[in-house]
Amino acid sequence: MRVGKIQYGFTVLIIFLSVIGGAMSLNFWVTKQTIPVTVMFSEDIRGWMTLKQVSEAMKIPVGEVKERLTLPVDTNDAKSLKELASERGLSTEEFKQRLFK
């Protein structure tokens, strides 16, 4: 069976978008990251994690997280590691390392 050029283009786009649309409607389209259940290495800790999320993931109190990161006790728990690192002129990688010392 012959297929026209325009028809072909629409076929490509319709198949591609339909699979994504179908997955969305069936709740298979998951993009959000979740807090890691176990933390063993610094790679398990992500830059987007807030102090509170780090404390949950590492199963230690927020106070201890702040202490390991040498942060003042009144630091906002909702701040992310990435934000805190850049405020201190550090890379997130360097900053995260402090949690494991």
Binding site: M1, R2, V3, G4, K5, I6, Y8, G9, F10, T11, V12, L13, I15, F16, L17, V19, I20, A23, F28, W29, V30, T31, K32, Q33, T34, I35, E43, R46, G47, W48, M49, T50, Q53, S80, K82, E83
Partner: protein, 282 residues
């Protein structure tokens, strides 16, 4: 209206294809910028990696063997991979010609190169041929390293992420991106032809596709205009069907003076070996 204008009625297909590419480039740019502004995590916006088809290839092993996704990947990657594989099995490697935002960027840079120099500078056949296997080597290397390190090993080398991630920090990916951008000025779709691991995968699946791009030799007048317009350097004028390297951009069809010479048809003829060479364009 100028026949070469993209708005000319005979170029409606190019208009549609470019609209599609612009749409996907903008979408990817939006995801990258949004992630930079909002940040990641459950409270933020997903990383660019979650919208990458190749991420699906990288995370598949981990998902099948351990039920876990590699860091930064998610179920969305497998959905995208499924969509792209289905598209390829039905229509050939059209993902590359109609959807891939990185392919689009290279194509547009190539257009700038053509405007600047009035031509492209394809590699000689004896270099072009062996170099085309490089992307299969890269695909194997990336899969091996990803499985053995259990993380997105290619991430820091990935030119797609270096561009659409909008971080522009000095990294191997950024250096590769700059090099590729320069090469794309002289050689159309350099990355697609010689390096893209995803393109390598699609080129293996594409010969199995239901819809094929065929040349009917009885209608072909051998003018070689198809060869001159092919960004992948395929010898369209001498093959029966365009094979695995073809990204189904349909430029050859659009430039062919004989409407019946190149056709899109569903059928089960086996594809001939991957056609090579850029010299045919001369």
């Amino acid at each position: 209206m100028n026949k070469h204008s993209i708005f000319h009625p005979t170029r409606r297909m190019s208009l549609l294809r470019n609209a599609s590419l612009i749409g996907f480039v903008m979408l990817m740019g939006y995801f990258g910028i949004r992630h930079q502004i909002v940040g990641g995590g459950p409270q933020g916006s997903p990383p660019l990696d979650s919208y990458c088809v190749f991420g699906g290839v990288e995370t598949l092993w981990s998902y099948v063997t351990k039920g876990q996704f590699l860091q930064k990947t998610n179920l969305s990657n497998l959905v995208l991979l499924t969509a792209a594989v289905l598209v390829t099995l039905l229509t050939g490697a059209s993902f590359c010609g109609w959807i891939c935002p990185f392919g689009a960027l290279q194509e547009w840079i190539g257009i700038i190169g053509k405007r600047l120099f009035g031509k492209q500078f394809p590699l000689p056949v004896h270099i072009d041929r062996p170099l085309r296997y490089l992307r299969f080597v890269l695909l194997a290397l990336i899969l091996y390293m990803t499985i053995s390190t259990d993380k997105l090993w290619f991430e820091i080398h990935d030119p797609f992420k270096a561009f659409f991630g909008f971080e522009f920090e000095l990294s191997p990916g950024l250096v590769i991106l700059l090099l590729l951008s320069i090469l794309s000025i002289f050689i159309e779709r350099f990355f697609c032809k010689y390096l893209c691991p995803l393109g390598a995968l699609f080129s293996l699946l594409s010969p199995l596709s239901i819809i094929k791009l065929k040349r009917q030799s009885s209608h072909c007048i051998g003018c070689n205009l198809c060869n001159k317009s092919c960004p992948m350097g395929i010898d369209v004028a001498h093959v029966q069907n365009t094979g695995g390297d073809c990204i189904r951009c349909l430029q050859c069809m659009e430039n062919c003076p004989k409407p019946e010479a190149l056709i899109l048809e569903s059928g089960k003829n086996p594809s001939p070996p991957i056609p090579h060479s850029v010299d045919y364009r001369r």
